[in-house]
């Protein structure tokens, strides 16, 4: 058991900063309501330190809460630390364990036009001085760019016999990405290529947990570099015997 709590200036003081808006006019009553709301959220103590009207019927609050809640850090699961391979190691690993160039397709799907993320992973020049997949001698990489319909991605993947398919999703408002990603997995399954393809998804609001839930093999969030996803792909291919 390794119970952890928020830390303000003393171990386990449980201090958390909050800000929120309530749909009521600013007044002493509203401030008291905000204080009760903070308690309702589960804080044992809450101090409303600022209130400002955003409109006649909305008020903004800044509050500091104190909570007794804790979590057991030893019980936090699902985030094993992977030791990533380097550019050279990956190419060597492919040569040694797969024995041929692997084929990877990437796309930003649906109506999403945010290509910077997938480009960061795919393009020659890469991102933050980490080369993209196109630069890997043992990877044949195709970047389909933005707003790619799931059907197009599927048919292209089949055409070139992709080993791995990388999907980027940036726009997440009203969970539009969930619908879109779910559809993609269903399509791949319907065409019986799901198991012969390593399916990955990435984006700033994506994490591994969500990806697994949606039926992907792995999910990648902010701060991902090409070697991260490449490490995952090649290991997964070997594990699945896709080679």
């Amino acid at each position: 058991m390794n119970a952890i709590k928020a830390y303000g200036d003393t171990l386990n003081d449980g201090r958390v900063q909050l800000s929120f808006t309530l749909p009521v006019a600013d007044s002493p009553k509203a401030r008291e309501a905000a204080r009760l709301y903070v308690r309702k959220l589960g804080f044992s103590d809450g101090e409303v330190v600022y209130a400002a009207p955003l409109e006649e019927e909305f008020t903004f609050f800044v509050a500091y809460g104190k909570t007794d809640g804790f979590i057991d850090y030893d019980e936090v699961r699902g985030v094993e630390k992977i030791d990533f391979m380097s550019f050279d190691e990956i190419n060597e690993y492919i040569g040694d364990n797969i024995g041929r160039k692997i084929v990877v397709v990437g796309a930003c799907t649906g109506f999403d036009a945010h290509t910077v993320g997938i480009d960061a992973i795919m393009n020659m020049k890469g991102y933050n001085h980490h080369f993209g997949l196109e630069r890997y001698p043992m990877i044949e990489a195709y970047n389909l760019g933005a707003q790619v319909p799931n059907e197009t991605l599927l048919s292209f993947s089949k055409e070139i016999s992709a080993d791995a398919v990388l999907v980027s999703q940036i726009v997440t408002q009203k969970n539009v990405h969930i619908d879109n990603l779910t559809e993609l997995v269903e399509l791949f399954e319907a065409e019986h290529v799901r198991n012969s393809t390593v399916l990955c998804v990435g984006g700033p609001r994506i994490d591994n947990r969500l990806a697994l839930e949606l039926g992907f093999d792995c999910g990648f969030g902010r701060g991902t570099y090409a070697e991260h996803v490449a490490t995952f792909i090649v290991r997964k291919m070997v594990e699945r015997g896709i080679a």
């Binding site: 929120f20 808006t21 009207p53 036009a113 290509t115 700033p204």
Partner: protein, 521 residues
């Protein structure tokens, strides 16, 4: 305009000559072509509206009926049908929604058509002139309550009613301008949806009804606040001219509108875009609507330090296209952005250099300055500070229209409280540094001046190469934003028509007359 950079005026003139050399050949192409969207816009200006049972907007049904006949001008068929059937445009709209085909009617005499057209053209003129008058009066009346620069915020909930509520709050908080961001990918729809909408992703559909709802909200909120609140939408994408038409009649005040944005960033065909942007600008010019060009977009993919000159180059091209549509400088809200990597030492000076450069080169334009977006992260506190520095540069360099950065830029479209914080931040800076720009002088030959002159020189080089190659060819070669677009590729080329010799569009004629533009008639 204070000359802070010691810029030789002649460099600006040189850039303008190059822009003319670049735009000239395109102008020639534009004058010989029309598009489905230009025609649908013209139908709308006549008063066509509504949709059929499948939800297809009537202007689209009509355009679809015309197909190749579009080359003669759609208004000819609409008014022809009206005359033949003895119906008003309203009645005809309903008839078409119920299945009537305007292409099936024999066209009456040109004189009759012109007679009939006069009615609708006059109606449109009256409407637009009233809008102009009302706007001008209100702005004059409330001038002293405005922020300087004008503070521009966005709403983007996807639900027009929720947007209206957010907008009201924004006005209460001190905003001067409210833009309703469009839903993801509306730019690729080749129609303008009909009616009020409550679903959207990262934005709200642009529709006539949504425009009306928001216009009314802002008028009421503005009166309460003692201000005229400007409403903004997008005359951009495949329906650029139609939205311009809706904006003119529904009294929008600003429109995102760029001569090349659709080509580069939405893969819309370049011929289509050039023709569309021209007609949309004719309308906006006449309606006294400020356009906001999209140069900020260059910097969302390219590095602001490396590619500062592409912004400037695009501004000269946008200016030239705008002048071609009779648009005075005071309506040209040329865009630029504060997108330098915050880790660059002296980044603040480079931002000043670029902003001041644009300011001095386009002294009469209501420049629209965009906040940091690319380098915003989930660290809302750091983001809030970056927005502060942005506000400071905006004030210091005398920008007119300042789109306020949101501290949650990297996370979600703005919460109500995010907008409040943004406005509070800006108002503090505007007041706290009110006279700063009068107070300081940049050192001769200093970092700011040097940077400005470097960017200027690179702009001239770049415009020179484009002029040499031609604009179409330059875009094909990927000279803009590192994006290659083939002249025959992209969306919407099928909607471009060479005008037949008897092409007739009474709105185009009227607009060109009113705006004193020569050219083919």
């Amino acid at each position: 305009m204070k000359d802070m950079l010691g810029l030789e005026i002649k460099k600006g003139n040189k850039a303008r000559c190059l822009a003319e050399a670049i735009v000239g050949p395109v102008r020639e192409y534009i004058s010989r072509h029309t598009t489905v969207s230009v025609e649908r816009a013209s139908l709308r200006l006549c008063g066509v509206d509504g949709m059929d049972q499948e939800g297809t907007p009537v202007p689209n049904i009509m355009a679809n009926q015309l197909k190749a006949k579009t080359e003669h001008g759609a208004v000819r068929y609409l008014l022809g049908a009206c005359l033949k059937k003895g119906m008003s445009v309203d009645e005809m709209s309903r008839a078409v929604a119920d299945g009537f085909d305007i292409s099936s009617v024999e066209i009456p005499d040109m004189a009759l058509l012109e007679e009939e057209a006069r009615k609708y053209v006059e109606r449109m003129k009256t409407l637009v002139l009233e809008n102009r008058k009302l706007r001008a009066e209100k702005i004059l009346k409330y001038k002293s309550n405005e922020n300087s620069p004008l503070l521009y915020v966005i709403v983007a909930t996807g639900n027009i009613y929720e947007d209206a509520r957010q907008a009201e709050a924004a006005v209460f908080q001190g905003a001067d301008i409210v833009a309703v961001i469009r839903t993801t990918a509306q730019s690729l729809l080749d129609y303008v949806p009909f009616g009020a909408t409550t679903e959207g992703f990262g934005g709200t559909y642009a529709t006539g009804e949504n425009f009306r709802i928001m216009r009314k909200t802002l008028d009421i909120a503005g009166e309460k606040a003692g201000k005229y609140i400007r409403l903004v939408n997008y005359a951009s994408g495949l329906c650029m001219p139609e939205i311009a038409a809706l904006g003119a009649t529904e009294r929008l005040d600003m429109m995102l509108n760029d001569s090349m944005y659709g080509v580069l960033f939405r893969d819309i065909n370049m011929y289509r875009t050039f023709v569309d942007q021209h007609f949309s600008r004719l309308i906006s010019s006449y309606a006294d609507i400020i356009i906001n060009t999209g140069e900020d977009n260059y910097l969302t993919t390219a590095d602001a330090f490396e590619k500062g000159y592409t912004v400037l180059a695009s501004q000269f091209i946008n200016e030239r296209f705008a002048f071609d549509a009779g648009m005075p400088s005071r309506l040209q809200g040329l865009g630029h952005a504060f997108e330098m990597d915050p880790d660059i030492p002296d980044g603040f000076l480079y931002e000043i250099a670029q902003a001041q450069l644009v300011r001095e080169l386009f002294p009469e334009c209501p420049l629209k300055y965009m906040p940091p977006t690319k380098h915003m992260s989930g660290n809302i506190f750091k983001g809030y500070v970056m927005n502060t520095m942005f506000n400071l540069v905006a004030k210091l360099t005398g920008q007119e229209i300042v789109l306020l950065g949101m501290l949650t830029e990297a996370i979600h479209t703005p919460f109500m409280q995010d907008r409040y914080l943004a406005i509070e931040n800006a108002r503090y800076i505007l007041s706290n540094t009110a006279s700063l720009s009068d107070e300081i002088i940049f050192r001769d030959g200093g970092i700011v001046q040097k940077r400005a002159s470097e960017v200027m020189d690179r702009t001239l080089d770049f415009l020179g190469s484009v002029a040499e190659r031609g604009l179409f060819e330059s875009i094909e070669a990927g000279m803009f934003a590192d994006i290659k677009r083939s002249a025959s590729g992209g969306k919407g080329l099928e909607g471009v028509f060479e005008k037949s010799p008897d092409y007739w569009n009474p709105f185009e004629i009227m607009l060109k007359e009113e705006l004193c533009i020569g050219g083919t008639k």
